[in-house]
């Protein structure tokens, strides 16, 4: 014996719209935003560190006495 079928009720699309706006459009919590910011901050910092590092001197340049 199969289970009886469920019956759609009037106003279901409006109800889903409410769910969507409440759950799906929910902004990130301050903790989540901080964690996210950390990820991008780290990348930028590591890029910055890379930029500030003295450039390696090419062996051939040294050999030629250019530095």
């Amino acid at each position: 014996m199969s289970a009886p079928l469920k019956q759609i009720k009037k106003g279901s699309v409006a109800k889903f719209r409410e769910f969507y706006n409440k759950v799906v459009r929910k902004p990130l919590s301050p903790e989540d935003r901080e964690e996210l910011r950390d990820v991008f901050r780290k990348k930028n910092q590591s890029e910055q560190t890379e930029t500030n590092k003295p450039k390696k001197i090419a062996k051939s340049d040294q050999d030629m006495g250019l530095t």
Binding site: L5, Q7, I8, V23, R33, R41, K43
Partner: protein
């Protein structure tokens, strides 16, 4: 003949129908408030409720439904990421996110589909993956923070709120909604004869094998094939504006 949603209420009254099959396009429209058919689907779903008609669908529709929501949600989540973290972003990722936001706003203004192109998703996956942290790469963290909490509850909410019923096919199972067991050959034949996508062909094949008398779809191609294949034995409805737009 393919009929319009505006005629659904009268058809349900005269036809004494108790079940209706909804495809992905309609279910997606009914669950995505920005979709251009959202209001027309709302009226039709209210018509179904008024006439005590039950909604049925299948696993292929569920898979396509989730894929469509994934593609609109990633598009929206990327904009949220840009607006939340613009000051921390730079380079090509920042440029791409800004271009995406402009394109998304234009599409929604023109009421075009906001579903993100699969290649674009791959580009953002690659760009965000370049960011690294102890908890995973930037793409994984982006998904974890923005996407998972939004995508995961969508199907169960849709199933619960719209009281969706499933037709499933298991071998040796008799199904009260099926006149015959849908065969893979039937789906392939629809693909070959009409050039349908495999998922659409599987959905349509199941509907044609069923005793469900009504199909709601927002896909005109699907509607026309369903109408032709059912040879007048089923009623096929599309949103009025889907017909107007193509005329």
């Amino acid at each position: 003949m393919v009929e319009q949603f505006s005629g659904l209420s009268a058809a349900l009254s005269s036809g004494n129908f108790s079940t209706c099959f909804v495809d992905t396009t309609v279910l997606f429209s009914a669950t995505y408030p920005l979709d251009s058919f959202n209001e027309e689907c709302e009226k039709s779903f209210n018509n179904l409720a008024d006439k005590q008609v039950k909604i049925l669908t299948n696993v292929n529709v569920r898979a396509e439904f989730l894929e469509n929501h994934r593609r609109v949600l990633i598009a929206e989540c990327l904009i949220d990421l840009l607006e939340d973290e613009e000051s921390g972003l730079d380079g090509i990722l920042l440029e791409k996110l800004k271009a995406h936001r402009t394109s998304y706003r234009r599409k929604t203004k023109e009421e075009k589909s906001a579903k993100m192109d699969l290649n674009q998703i791959k580009i953002f996956r690659r760009l965000l993956s370049a960011y690294d942290s102890d908890r995973g790469n930037g793409w994984e963290i982006f998904c974890n923070k923005y996407l998972v909490g939004r995508l995961t509850p969508i199907w169960s909410a849709a199933e619960q709120i719209h009281e969706i019923n499933f037709i499933s096919v298991r071998s040796n199972d008799e199904n009260e909604f099926l006149n015959s067991t849908p065969k893979w050959e039937g789906a392939v034949s629809l693909m070959g004869r009409y050039g349908l996508a495999s998922s659409d062909a599987m959905i349509l094949n199941m509907f044609l094998c069923s005793n469900i008398p009504v199909l709601l779809t927002a896909d005109l191609e699907m509607a026309e094939v369903a109408d032709k294949e059912s040879k007048g034995s089923k009623r096929i409805f599309v949103p009025d504006s889907a017909i107007t737009v193509t005329q």
